[in-house]
Symmetry: C2
Subunit: 226 residues, 2 copies
């Protein structure tokens, strides 16, 4: 064992793949899921199942980002549907949650410091993404610098490393890698606007990127669509 890691686990396919990678890398992962007031709360159940499948601890921390508002993922704003690739890659959409990855990473740093974990995995990816600024490599690098200056661990010389193994991969590559590492993608949920009984809408940016990824990977998508 190379030591402990913190893996930010959202219940989606990217973070599930990250967890599989942390295990492959010989680390003992503790997963962190954030209950931030998201409308699609089945994410948290998915995170629990995924952590269990990889025999990893899961901590759920609550922070009420809904009280700030400003996003279709936390407020009663319509999630855009049926957008094409150039629309998805275009301007930052209403599903952007202000400073979400900044807040999530900060919480993960707090947990890493308490656990003595040096590696922190986050499943961001700057290729097949939805135009969120906090998924880009330049943000991750700047955050890592700040995190090491913020913490007792960083000051005392145990440098924290922000691991972004998916950052330059396509969704298809992620799915191919994760399938090889034993990720059961039936457990993952990607939809921004699932139905009451937990089916994916099939039309939001996240569903579209997921469906394209499975198609390109030549792997059947186990998601249940409405």
């Amino acid at each position: 064992m190379r030591g402990r890691a913190v893996v930010l686990l959202s219940g989606g396919l990217d973070s599930a793949t990250c967890l599989a990678i942390a295990k492959r890398d010989g680390l003992t992962p503790t997963c962190l899921a954030v209950d931030y007031g998201q409308r699609h709360r089945c994410e948290l159940d998915a995170a629990r199942n995924i952590a269990d499948a990889f025999d990893a601890e899961l901590m759920v921390v609550s922070v009420d980002l809904r009280s700030f508002g400003g996003s279709a993922l936390t407020e009663n704003i319509d999630v855009p549907k049926g957008r094409n690739d150039s629309e998805i890659a275009g301007e930052i959409p209403v599903t952007y949650v202000p400073a979400r990855n900044l807040v999530f990473l900060s919480l993960a740093v707090a947990q890493a410091e308490v656990l003595g974990a040096q590696d922190l995995y986050i499943g961001v990816n700057q290729l097949d993404y939805s135009g969120y600024p906090d998924c880009r490599n330049e943000f991750i690098e700047a955050f890592g610098a700040a995190a090491n200056l913020a913490t007792k661990a960083g000051v005392e010389g145990t440098r924290l490393r922000i691991q972004t193994p998916l950052i330059d991969m396509t969704k298809a590559q992620i799915i191919t890698l994760g399938t090889g590492l034993g990720v059961d993608y039936a457990m993952t949920t990607s939809c921004y606007d699932p139905t009451q009984n937990g089916k994916a809408c099939g039309g939001c940016d996240s569903c579209i990127l997921r469906k394209q990824g499975f198609e390109q990977a030549g792997v059947p998508d186990p998601a249940r669509y409405a």
Copy 2:
């Protein structure tokens, strides 16, 4: 009016002074207090009174840092008492809360982005401090860089500024400035280990720094000590 600001308000004397400075600077402040599971919860009542006194909005956001553990401020660990100046300025104490300012600043960035505020005030200070790494200027600068890369606001060109007006001031200078700006320090609470009826212990690092500050400023300390 120059616009809106977010002021991190802890209920202590530094952040109360920051709020007074934001008002002096002609900004419309929204205060953010964080309920992070602190043992000294009278802080939150103090924050409410201070915000009201300055006719400023207050938002309290909850995030359970206690679930991570690792600090005397959130766990049942004894708060050190009666330490001298060199002990206080020495190694990082057990009252350090892992990544606290990183988490608080990230939440403030989320709020600033939703409000369209460009200025974010935090009352850190690297002189009369308790050896916390996240109170140093180099951390604040690195965080500001990361925050501007993380957010839609930063990407679209509205640069967020992290304002640390107290960073190079002594406690005495802060108290002198705040007194001139009308801060009622009787409303503020500094103690890490107050009694059940809200009196300050007088012996923790924070009480000692406060008492020395008032003494050096030649201003009576209105805190009620046990």
